[in-house]
Structures are given as structure tokens and as C-alpha cells.
């Protein structure tokens, strides 16, 4: 449409769009606009804000990730990498599973013991039933627990 490209336009067209975008984002990270541990705006949000294609956004983000400024976690987003604190890149269900696993391995929960119910964990973690169940599913796959309908879930005992 614009037959007379000016200087400013040139910066945002052609081969340098993603580089320019990366620079803008880099600045926002280092200045704390995007604080460490938090997620950047989603790819879609960035395409809307900067009026560029998703391809381009992804190119820019890939650069930032290569520099170690961010880490990307599917389904969560891009998390700003803090100075030394390694960002928490795990999912809710993994967190729940991890805590339960620890209680089992430390012996707080012995073989045959009844685990907290889905409802209880929902309440504890303010998570949906699906998420709680996914945590349980992980532990079940690992062979740590067994489920008995109508009764509850139990720490596996070596029968």
C-alpha cells in the first residue's frame, strides 16, 4: 500500500522486524516490565500488540530464549528467567503429584494408607477435579498408588 517507504517504516519492514521486536522485548525484560518468574504476553497477544505475524513473534522469542532470558513452557507460556532462581516450569498437576509422592516416600503415608480424596485436594490446592485426577493418574502410572472405586485411593502395598 505505501509506495513511498520512509526511514521509520524501513525499520519495521523487510528482514529486520523480528530483530527489532526482540530488542523491544529484551528491553522490557531487563527493565522489569516483564518481571522474573512471570509469563510474557502470549504469542497471540504479541502479534496483536506489534501487528506482526505469529511467525515473526516466534522468531524474536526464539532469539530471547537462545540468550537465556526466557524459557518456554507449552500450555503455560514464556517465563522470564530470573537472575539465578531457576523458574518453576512445572504444571499444577505435577506440583500436586510431587507433594504426594514425597509424603509417600518419606513414610508419612505408609503402604495401604488412604490418600486424601479428590475433593480434599481440590480444596487444598484450589484446583479443578481434572487437575487433581491428573496428579493421581501420574502416581498411579508410577505404581505408587491404587484406586478403588467407592472407597478411595491407597498407597500401594506389595501384595
Amino acid at each position: 500500500m505505501h509506495t513511498a517507504p520512509e526511514r521509520r517504516k524501513a525499520w519495521l519492514t523487510g528482514q529486520r522486524v523480528s530483530g527489532k521486536l526482540a530488542e523491544r522485548l529484551r528491553e522490557r525484560i531487563t527493565t522489569g516490565v516483564y518481571p522474573a518468574g512471570q509469563a510474557l504476553p502470549s504469542e497471540i497477544a504479541l502479534t496483536a500488540e506489534f501487528r506482526v505475524a505469529r511467525n515473526t513473534v516466534r522468531r524474536a522469542l526464539r532469539a530471547l530464549e537462545a540468550e537465556g532470558l526466557i524459557v518456554t513452557v507449552p500450555s503455560k507460556g514464556r517465563l522470564v528467567q530470573g537472575a539465578d532462581a531457576p523458574v518453576d516450569a512445572s504444571y499444577r498437576y505435577q506440583l500436586i503429584a510431587r507433594e504426594l509422592r514425597r509424603r509417600i516416600e518419606r513414610g508419612d503415608l505408609g503402604a495401604g494408607d488412604l490418600l486424601p480424596s479428590e475433593a480434599e485436594l481440590r480444596w487444598l490446592y484450589e484446583a479443578s477435579r481434572n487437575t487433581v485426577r491428573q496428579a493421581f493418574a501420574e502416581l498411579e502410572r508410577e505404581g505408587l498408588i491404587v484406586s478403588r472405586q467407592g472407597k478411595g485411593r491407597f498407597v500401594r502395598s506389595d501384595e
Copy 2:
């Protein structure tokens, strides 16, 4: 707790709770409080309203269903059966799948033709991407269509 059961209490205790509840609901249906085609309040909602156990609610509802007053559809609820119009007991994704299937079988969409995209159908049916995809999945299972990533979905051609 109540050591001196009165007449009124007797109606709502012992063996007649579900019968009484069924009667109340029957009345609401016939008087149009629960209009035909609509869903009754969920089991949980009824347990809350009438202060009875889910067991009891289910017993009452089972009676109403046996009388043909309602039909139950998992994930949807209990639909009031209209006079003669058979209630629509299908899911959104089945509706979408059905309409696409018809367009294929009637030849509106010929072998090899491109089907509407997920986004298009989302917009058309005001459904979530998941629901649209589930419709497609059904058609794919039936062997009516094939999907090609990056391109779209096509009416299957006998290669």
C-alpha cells in the same frame, strides 16, 4: 434426633421421601415450571433444594423417567419430554458432525473438497475449538474425511 415424629415429618422421612419428591417434581413438570425440552435442575441442585441425598433424588428421577416424563442425557441433564416432540438429546459436536455428514452425503461436498476450517465452524456454531474438533474426529473415525496439517480437512477420496 426427633424423638416425637409428627404427621408432617412422617411424610418426609422413612420410606416415602423419594416418592414425595417425585410427586413434587411431577407437578412442576406438568404445570410448566420445568418447560418441555428444558433440563431439570441437576441432581446436585435438587439435593440442595430439597435437603435430601443424591441417592434419593436419583430414585425419584428414575421414577419420572420410567413414566416417560423426562429423559436423561449424561453430561447434559434431565430433559423434560414434550407432548410429542421427541427431545433433542444429542450433543453439540454431534449436531455439527451431523450437518457436515449430510452435506457430504448429499454431494454438496464432493470427494477431495476442502471442508470448512475449525475457525469457520467455531464461528458458525459458536462452539469451542474442542467441540468442533470432536465433530471432525467423529467424521474422521467414520472414514468420511481426512485431515492434512497446515492445509485443512478434505472429503475422503478413494485413492
